[in-house]
């Protein structure tokens, strides 16, 4: 995976410094001493009880109350050199928004976030904060729990929506130019929002019948309620963005054909939608799913409401999920909610290497998910109807660190054993969807079919065609995709402005 190095651009430094020196900030810093701030315990996120929540798909986290948010905001030391901002892929002015919360100005706080992040209600819920902003918090260096930046972001975004105060920014002069955005996931939605605010005529083309991309088909209701996504989509529509669903760019029309329809620039955010399988014997059996299929059936097609909805999903009693990332956690917790007696994570490394967010692992543990570490499947065994009934596994041990820095798992010879299963879900990652690359001549690709871009401009090998999110990164996070979408939007503006003459 390509990672952009974190930088503190001069302009950002200046902005942060100026706000840091505003009188109200100085005042707040004086009001409570550092010692007092350090003594405040991190405010825990209120959650629904594990045994209650596994009966349904409602959201696990209940969100802070205003009092809780202000209490948590008081913990923030308002550092002169706010390293948390460096940890944020879209460089949100974190100290300013937190200090506005401390002051009780929640709407002011959300406005600060929205300067660089158009989907705070989503990011506050699904960002891996421990690797980003919170991982860089000064508290961490002191061996303490970081300020709950993600919880605070979520709080102000929810507050704004509940208050009905979501403001539609005034659209500057209409530019009279058409831009096509391909894919209505986090990258595409962000790019579309930014371009619409600049005055472009933006149309999003989405292959599925509902927009949202992974936010719709992938992330379950209990982690990201669809009502939040729907409101974000309404916001975009009110900005004037057109969303055309059931339109597969590359099939329904190619980029070349859309150019003929008058689109002058393109943003490809088609995601890493193609699942990896393991290549093991028995993978073709019934009851073996990709996480994409399993989650799509449940989230997009609402199979958990079968037979009211027509798409079925088998309700397994013994469900094994292969992998330990966020998608694996989503799948295994979904299986639990669909009535699995044993919902298991089978992972070839150990607890410490699990790539999922800490919160997802914690929630999974509370919900009674079983973790089988240092174990890898070798083959799947079916019954006489071709339905999976067992999985032969082998025990692993950890060797030397590999390219990812994590210790490489090595099979222990002769340690094979069987696990009884009736559903297996493979959640070992996804690769870029090849539909657009295959139908767009001249588009340069990287090793696994990712679209190559100039990282400074997000422009592809075709002038006027930009790309971002998982289609260039191969499988990253919502916030990185959004960062790309935003960056590309500014570059598209530059491209189209220069094109005028």
């Amino acid at each position: 995976m390509t990672r952009q190095p974190a930088r503190f651009p001069e302009e950002l430094k200046k902005k942060l410094r100026a706000r840091f020196n505003e009188d109200w900030r100085k005042e707040l810093r004086r009001k409570i001493s550092v010692k007092e701030r350090l003594a405040i315990e991190r405010v825990a996120m209120p959650e629904n009880e594990p045994m209650e929540r596994i009966k349904g798909f409602f959201e696990v986290n209940k969100g802070y109350t205003p009092e809780m948010a202000m209490e948590e905001a008081r913990r923030c030391l308002d550092c002169a050199n706010p390293t948390c901002v460096l940890g944020c892929p879209v460089a949100i002015d974190i100290p300013t928004f937190i200090k506005l919360i401390e002051k009780g100005d929640f709407i002011g706080a959300v406005k600060i976030i929205k300067e660089t992040n158009s989907l705070p209600a989503v990011c506050g819920r699904v960002c891996p904060q421990e690797d980003q902003c919170e991982g860089h918090c000064a508290y961490v260096k002191m061996g303490k729990k970081p300020v709950a930046i993600g919880n605070l972001e979520r709080f102000v975004a929810d507050y704004e929506r509940a208050a009905g105060e979501v403001e539609i920014p005034e659209i500057k002069l209409k530019k009279g130019k058409k831009v096509a955005v391909i894919g209505a996931g986090p990258a595409g939605l962000t790019a579309a929002g930014e371009l619409a605010k600049m005055g472009y005529d933006v149309t999003i083309f989405e292959a599925l019948h509902e927009p949202g991309g992974v936010l719709m088909y992938g992330i379950p209701e209990f982690r990201l309620p669809k009502s939040i996504l729907k409101e974000e989509l309404d916001y975009l529509r009110r900005l004037g963005v057109k969303i055309i669903t059931d339109f597969v760019v590359g099939k329904t029309a190619t980029i070349e054909e859309l150019k003929e329809e008058g689109y002058e620039a393109f943003f490809i955010g088609s995601g890493a939608g193609a699942p990896w399988f393991l290549g093991l014997p028995g993978e073709e059996l019934n009851g073996v799913y990709s996480a994409n299929e399993y989650l799509t059936r449940v989230n997009l097609m609402r199979a958990f409401q079968f037979p009211e909805y027509d798409t079925p999903i088998p309700r397994g009693k013994r469900v094994a999920v292969i992998g330990a990332g966020n998608t694996a956690m989503d799948a295994v917790r979904t299986a639990k909610r669909l009535g699995a007696e044993h919902a298991m994570i089978v992972y070839r490394r150990s607890r410490a290497e699990m790539p999922a967010r800490i919160e997802e692992i914690k929630h999974a543990e509370e919900e009674g998910i079983e973790f089988i570490f240092l174990t890898n499947p070798k083959r799947f065994i079916g019954d006489e109807n071709g339905w999976v009934k067992q999985m032969e596994c082998i025990r692993m041990e950890l060797g030397e660190p590999d390219a990812s820095g994590r210790r490489r798992p090595i099979p222990i010879p002769g340690s094979e054993f069987l696990i009884d299963v009736d559903i297996v879900i493979i959640a070992i990652g996804t690769k870029p969807n090849p539909l657009i690359p295959q139908t767009t001549p001249g588009l340069e690709l990287a090793k696994w079919g990712e679209i190559k871009v100039n990282w400074d401009t997000m422009e592809t090998s075709i002038p006027g065609v930009f790309a971002g999110g998982d289609i260039v990164r191969g499988g990253a996070t919502v916030i990185l995709a959004m960062g790309d979408g935003r960056k590309a939007a500014y570059q598209i503006d530059r491209f189209l402005s220069e094109k005028r003459d």
Partner: protein, 287 residues
Amino acid sequence: MYRIIFNRPIAERIKHMRVVAPFIASKRRPGNFVILIPDEKGERIPLTIVDSDPHQGTIDLIYQEVGTSTFKLGLKREGDYLYRIVGPLGKPTHIEKFGTVVAIGGGVGIAPLYPIAKGMKEAGNRIVTILGARKKELIILEKEMGEISDDLRVWTDDGSYGKKGLVTHGLQELIDEGLKIDMVLAIGPAIMMKFVTKMAAEHNLPIIVSLNPIMVDGTGMCGACRVVVGGEIKFACVDGPEFDGHQVDFDNLILRLKAYRKYEIESLERFAGFYPEVKTYLQGGVR
């Protein structure tokens, strides 16, 4: 929303629907399919595009009423709408001049066979067609297939129309007559394609089959439609739906097609509660 121009029966429980979908109509090629959703609570189901009129912006679909989704389609009337339709999906057929092409269609499989055979005819091939079904009432598109065929023979299991026997008997008959066959096209139930392929293998004939696994998104995203071809996993939606028949693991396809049988029956029984017409059909026994 996609307006329905007509939706009429052409055989027992088989209907022909014409629907407005201008983009798809202008882009589709033989072998392409669409994914459609009958209504808000419906499934995504794949159907081959049988024909299109780019000027009118319409496409033609043919389906057999077997489950909730297809019964829902069957209840649509002229002027109604399909909730969603997306396409054209799948790789178009590789069409070239092979010489003599034997086009074998079984039951509702004649519908996807028609555009491919037509494409083959337009490329200059001689088309010898074998149509098969359980009985006379299930033979479709005989006239249309006749127009593009140099020779057309009908076989029924019960002998109620054409000759009595299976399509494999039809292929055997052509082989026995000494016909030089350059390509076989076979589309129909998986079990039919399996046995036609077996016979083709015995006579060293190349064969193309079009597979009909269960799909969800139809764009390569989920892998529901994976089939074993040449020992490897392929996605019928993006790698197919047509494959070299000799490479296909039909037994696996047959098992995978049955994966949701229990749910399909549950769903249809529930649906029949709302529609007496469907109930009557169910009482006749679900195949």
